[in-house]
Amino acid sequence: MSKQEIIKDSPLKYVGYIEREIFKEASFKAVLSQPGTGKTAFLVQIALYNMLNDKNVIHISLNNSVNKVALWYDEVFYNILNHAGKAKENNKIIEDILPHRLIMTFGDFHASKIKEALLNLKAQNIFFPKMILIDGVLPSSGIIQELINLKEIVSNFSIDTWISIRENGLFNKSIIEPFDCAVELNATNKDINMSILKGKEVTIPLKLELSTFILKNN
């Protein structure tokens, strides 16, 4: 089974729909939700889609260890292959796409730290990302300025960016201002609904399965 067949036959086709159709023009994107409602799994699905398209992805986690993030990838990828009826092929494909992923963890969110890491990776010829995922940003007083700084940095590097933001007590919807587009995940009894806060409206309504956080349509 080729990488493109996996995308076509699995829920990753919805990531294709999000990336190629809904947010085609956007490069600085956000996903927001309450804790435990699938932000990490959503980002991992975005990453896997890009990795299967041979694009390098940096996954920066602000609240999980490298091993835990890697476990998320194993789990989500297994579930995706399971949907495509190809769970047995897991090992070979993941080994094939693993070189496209670099996981980094930071104790806190600072645009300058991310810039330093990107410069380091470039200067040492280590890894040239096409996409950065930053998982677990917490709303705080100076966060909007940090996001504006980051947007400028990633735009200079021509890197697409997805950021997950945890909705806590300090959360205010003005946080989405620096983003080109933003989606929100809301848990119901049955599923997790995905709604567009900023950007083009969807024609195919998307949800996340409650048990696996895998994308699906209505």
Binding site: S65, V66, N67, L98, R101, T105, G107, N120
Partner: protein
């Protein structure tokens, strides 16, 4: 030696490199009065710590061989196995854990949970060893025991809970608050021998109360009595202790102690904890396999009157011959007993029975069940089971990984040659991951092991202990060959050169598989007579040693034969073996063969300022960087790097990080060699064969 196993503890001390295991052991021996003065691991007095008894270990400041020793505390016997911390010597750690009933996991109060700590934790899980944790080096700058407890929870996934809080920290560490008795303990006197128990200082009381509440919360999960007592606010010390003990022995919680071995703080309390919280041999269930009864598991009992079952977990060659460290699980071993080595079936008469204290020994009459001791003059390999005659049981074998690196060695002179064979004979018996053989092509002696350092240490030991001076060749990586697709073969072997001819035709297919080798016979109608099927299998198997592509051993092939032909006169065992060899080469070369190389998991811990250069150094070595974890001042980089690129990495790392970074390495997997490297390998091989 007494014979009351409820008063025995067989424990190990495991940790990351430099967390202070050997110093801790040394202090334990000092406080239990087994030694009367203290020497440091890298001490200036040139004596070195007692447990690091090999000259080489003292020189390098690392522990290589686990030495078993014993001591007494509060009328109880403690057998301690000091275990090496470096990954290259992991088999030693695994062997030690196999025979232990409990362990102390030593962590550095500054470094916290490090890569080797994670490996050791996994090994303890594998052998179901309950443990308590000791956060050492609380006197160091940057010490933060509570951060380390959080790391044990997050990274190791344990319910870790503080049993103490420090009074002062870093250079102001003076004592500990015991959260069970709620008293302050100070360590006074020149070497901290005098324990002074006082009330908790006022300023520490809120913190102590908070931490005690956490302790009671977790411990009450293992005792209804404690839950009830907590509800009424009347917790008796013995109820709390028994709940913590239950949680620890069931491996559901990890009580965490702290202190500084170097500064003699917290050792006596840790000894109390070993006695209180770790299990005795009769509280642990040990199993053996009954070879006379369909390999069924049987549970061993610590009854000394039952049939003997004992496990040889370590061998050492001393001035008086081979010393075999042994753990008795059932029955007992006494002088003049006759016991059976289950692997060889040979009966052995027991000579001297001794108990070891590092490199000193003490003669004893017997080793009863539950105890660790040593025997003299017994011929066996490590991992062998000994049992009473007519009691055919074996302890389950340990997992032994295959070597990933080899090195040729040539003795410098005649004397060295004789000594070398003695050394190799002993080392290969002692360590199942260390192997030696004579190369058929070059007639050189090849040694193989788990890493560069592993082999270096043995070469040094040959020089020092056996006066065997050797010249070492370039390290060689254990490459392998395999195939990537199915291919058919149909080969006829025909030879008519006068006299009896040879004839055999073998047809079928070859395909990739997960197993090292599978042979399947699907021949119907007798096109290959049944008596020649084993000849075919033998012929195919012979091809596995040296692959047709680049002469590396072959793995992961399935051979199916489904047709063939024979001749009533000219077909023979040899003819079909040759036909199979021809068939193999025909099929193999069409099945897209590739070269595989061993890939190592490399974990580097470096100060953040060197993160970029460390990543760069791994990248230059064809490393795939899997992740970089920010840990405040330090950063942990994990990568997968081909073994062939890791030679001399310790020097590179030292020079690029001013010696501030350290790394560990262990075998991860086999992966295909990139095309350009394959070309280089082919070139080297053709040069080599031309020069022959």
């Amino acid at each position: 030696m007494r014979n009351d196993i409820s008063k025995v503890k067989n424990i190990g001390i495991s940790a990351h490199i430099d967390a202070g295991k050997t110093t801790l052991t040394e202090r334990i021996l000092y406080f239990t009065k087994r030694i009367h003065s203290i020497h440091e691991v890298k001490g200036k007095d040139g004596v070195g710590a007692t447990m690091d008894f090999m000259e080489l270990e003292r020189e390098r400041g690392i522990t290589i061989t686990s030495a078993a020793t014993y001591c007494e505390w509060n009328n109880q016997e403690i057998n301690i196995i000091d275990t090496p911390g470096h990954v290259d010597f992991t088999i030693e750690v695994e062997r030690s854990l196999r025979v232990l009933d409990g362990a102390i996991l030593v962590l550095c109060a500054v470094g916290g949970v490090q890569s080797q700590t994670i490996t050791v934790n996994q090994q303890m899980l594998r052998y179901k060893v309950p443990y308590i944790a000791f956060i050492n080096k609380c006197d160091r700058v940057g010490a933060n025991p509570f951060k380390v407890i959080d790391q044990i929870k997050e990274k190791l996934g344990h319910k870790a809970v503080a049993m103490q809080i420090p009074i002062g920290i870093e250079d102001k560490l003076t004592g500990l608050v015991d959260l069970v008795s709620m008293k302050a303990i100070y360590f006074e006197g020149e070497n901290g021998e005098q324990l002074v128990v006082e009330e908790i200082p006022k300023e520490l009381l809120p913190e102590a109360n908070k931490r005690r509440e956490e302790l009671v919360d977790i411990a009450s999960m293992f005792s209804d009595e404690l839950t009830e007592a907590a509800l009424y606010g009347d917790i008796k010390e013995n109820i709390l202790i028994s709940a913590i003990r239950k949680g620890t022995i069931n491996r559901q919680m990890v009580p965490v102690f702290m202190g500084s071995a170097y500064k003699n703080k917290g050792i006596q309390v840790l000894l109390d904890a070993i006695i209180t919280y770790l299990p005795s041999p009769d509280e642990i269930e040990n199993q053996a396999i009954d070879l006379d009864n369909d390999n069924r598991s049987i549970i061993l009992s610590t009854d000394t009157t039952k049939h003997l079952v004992a496990f040889a977990f370590k061998l050492e060659d001393g001035p008086y011959g081979q010393l075999t460290y042994i753990r008795v699980y059932q029955g007992s071993i006494s002088k003049n007993d006759t016991i059976v080595n289950i692997r060889t079936g040979k009966k052995v008469k027991v000579g001297r029975v001794i108990r070891m204290h590092a490199d000193k020994m003490e003669d004893i009459e017997a080793i009863p069940a539950g105890y660790i001791g040593a025997l003299f003059g017994i011929d066996c390999a490590s991992g062998d089971t000994f049992a009473a005659p007519d009691f055919n049981v074996t302890m389950t074998s340990m997992y032994v990984p295959n070597p990933v690196i080899s090195l040729s060695i040539t003795p410098k002179d005649n004397k060295s040659e004789i000594n070398l064979s003695k050394a190799l004979n002993r080392f290969t018996k002692e360590d199942p991951t260390f192997k030696a053989h004579i190369s058929k092509e070059t007639s050189e002696t090849i040694i193989s092991g788990m890493g560069e350092l592993h082999l270096e240490v043995y070469v040094e030991r040959m020089r020092r202990e056996y006066k065997a001076e050797v010249i070492t060749g370039m390290p060689q990586v254990a490459y392998k060959e395999t195939i990537t697709r199915k291919a058919e073969f149909n080969y006829t072997h025909k030879k008519q050169t006068g006299g009896a001819g040879q004839f055999g035709r073998v047809a079928g297919y070859i395909e990739p598989t997960e197993e090292p080798f599978i042979f399947e016979n699907k021949v119907v109608g007798g096109s290959i007579p049944t008596q020649f099927i084993p000849s075919c299998e033998k012929g195919f198997k012979k091809c596995l040693d040296k692959g047709p592509l680049m002469e590396f051993p072959i793995t992961g092939v399935k051979i199916v034969i489904n047709d063939g032909q024979s001749h009533s006169v000219d077909s023979s065992d040899i003819a079909f073996q040759s036909a199979a060899r021809g068939a193999f080469i025909e099929g193999y070369l069409n099945a897209k063969p590739i070269i595989l190389e061993p890939i190592m998991k490399v974990v580097v811990e470096t100060p953040n300022e060197f993160q970029g250069s460390v990543m760069g150094s791994l990248n230059q070595r064809r490393g795939m960087i899997l992740g970089a974890q920010d840990q405040g001042y330090m950063c942990v980089i994990e990568a997968q790097v081909p073994m062939s690129e890791m030679f001399g990495y310790s020097t590179t790392l030292r020079s690029s990080t001013q010696g501030k970074a350290q790394f560990t390495m262990e075998f991860a997997t086999y992966r295909q060699v990139p095309k350009n490297i394959e070309e280089e390998l082919k070139e080297t091989l053709s040069k080599k064969s031309k020069s022959k």
